[in-house]
Symmetry: C2
Subunit: 339 residues, 2 copies
């Protein structure tokens, strides 16, 4: 079985995205928010069948852990209430996708974060999504300011309410920023990768997993810059008098395989323990073209993994075992279906 | 000949660093700046001989392109005048090191940048350092705010005065941030690597080298996250309708080899053309320990390069030819000495 841990609903029906625009316009104008539009099952089916589902089948995967479009979370827009309405609408739409394609998709939620706001509403939305919608995790934005980086580091107690709820519900978070309102940072070319790198370094500096020994975080895009600079991070941990990374961080952190070329994937598998790697593609996402050097889609990451020399057991861990371990509620759901 | 393109005077005499502290204290108190202290040649000799010079010899290099301590530039402290005094003091000290060890060190200057300030004083200091002190380049901080990222991207016209002066003097810049005053970003574990990645993506988005076809920029630490995500950057350039990276960026950009483990260096050489790679170590710098996996210093990057399979001609380019090309004034100085 092959589970892609990293997919967003980047192809949501136009009416959904238009409602977001009118929501923000209404907020800025001080007008009431318009009603969320009617979206038919057929519209949802079509948006999935022609895109994610087609590609999942073509590329030979079975299932995707599916969440709202990350770049559209835009926690820096509006306020806490606006983020709450938007997160709820996005998560409900994911639940409809999962309801229509229960064998192929399982949900991960967007949180209603807002710069400076407490995490109380995020805790409530996580609980709703897990307990009522059957979701198995959340996306946690370490920078809800969208590239201004005004929140405290992830190891700060500011974040503890969401970690406490994650621990209680036994669900992981993917650490995932959204779009950037800072012109220095291209969203998918700088902000995303920087955030992945930054989060990992925050975890080295802090001691979060002493307080939350069972907490699991997925750092996407192959851990940002981390595996390429693995010697730097091992050396910095040593200089900061921290235990080796294998003990200090890597019992609780996973990297996905959203690294869009063979040499990068090879490096990932060379330096990171196979138990910490989850198959992911983030398709249909940031990089949608075909690599002229290979003739295949950049984000068809399964091809790269298939080309890595792995034992069958290790390959099975990367393709599904590690995901079932990191997302226990996914494992429970699959077992209930005999998978 | 082996030229390390990336060394900072991290071991400057205490009196120099103490003066900086008293300068900032005086600024905050509104008092006049104290006089710069007397520092003897012997103090400078000792600080170099026991550290950089010893390690250069032990590791088998010949020369270091040497600049003030990057983390201490701290352009976000004080104001433009304070940055001007500090840059001048730091650059003069580098000139003294070069004067004492002319066969081993050649200077690169710190610029008196300050958040929001125009680049006029940086242009003047660059000119002074090149024409009066014999320096061969500068360190350009893309984020003088120290982790708040309040300046425009490097491709913005804000930066053009310094690029114009660099073009006129035919000197390159290393793109190098300083310390971080944003608690999200560990300086050497996040801010540095993020800035390297960010600068590269800005260069993809913009078209800086159309305006400055001869401009040369060195992006340190092996290009941040870029080689690990080389497929992503090739794919993003394509999505942004830019020419291939080899034409659009890599005629003007070099990566150094400050990547502190063998797999990272191997990847760098696998994906980046050897003509774009400059030997660098950034020692004595961010990571000062010994790698327990190898028994050697993390930042002894020459060992990793020696282990890469390269032709003699390519090895010579990485060790000196590319640096002499990127820093023409270094080449001129060496030729004048018959080297």
């Amino acid at each position: 079985m092959i589970i892609d841990c990293h997919g967003h609903y980047t192809t949501a029906p136009t009416a959904h995205n238009s409602w977001r625009e009118s929501q923000l316009t209404a907020f800025l104008a001080g007008r009431p928010v318009p009603d969320y539009p009617a979206i038919s099952d057929d519209e949802i089916r079509e948006s999935i069948e022609q895109n994610q589902l087609r590609l999942i089948r073509e590329r030979g995967a079975d299932m995707t852990i599916f969440s709202p479009r990350a770049s559209a979370m835009a926690h820096h827009e509006g306020d806490e209430l606006v983020s709450g309405q938007w997160a709820r609408a996005c998560n409900n739409l994911i639940a409809r996708v999962v309801g229509l394609f229960p064998d192929t998709f399982i949900g991960v939620c967007q949180l209603p974060q807002s710069p400076g706001a407490p995490l109380k509403s995020s805790v409530a939305e996580l609980e709703r999504c897990v307990l009522e919608l059957g979701f198995v995790g959340c996306n946690l934005n370490p920078d809800p300011s969208g590239g201004k980086w005004t929140s405290p580091p992830l190891t700060d107690r500011y974040w503890y309410p969401i970690f406490e709820k994650m621990a209680e519900l036994d669900v992981p978070a993917m650490v995932h920023v959204s779009s950037s309102c800072n012109p220095n940072f291209h969203a998918t070319g700088a902000h995303y990768i920087n955030a992945d790198t930054t989060a990992f370094m925050q975890l080295i500096q802090g001691d979060l997993f002493a307080d939350f020994p069972g907490l699991r975080l997925v750092i996407p895009r192959g851990g940002g810059a981390v595996p390429y600079h693995w010697g730097r991070y091992r050396g910095l941990a040593d200089m900061l008098k921290k235990p080796p990374l294998s003990e200090h961080v890597m019992k609780n952190v996973f990297f996905d395989t959203c690294v869009y070329h063979q040499p990068g994937i090879d490096l990932l598998f060379q330096v990171i323990d196979v138990g910490n790697i989850l198959f992911g593609s983030e398709m249909v996402g940031a990089v949608r073209g075909i690599d002229p050097e290979t003739g295949h889609y950049f984000d068809d990451t399964k091809r790269y993994i298939d080309a890595v020399h792995l034992t069958d057991a290790d390959r099975a861990r990367v393709y599904s075992g590690n995901a079932r371990h990191a997302y226990p509620r996914l494992d429970t759901a699959l077992r209930a279906r005999g998978r």
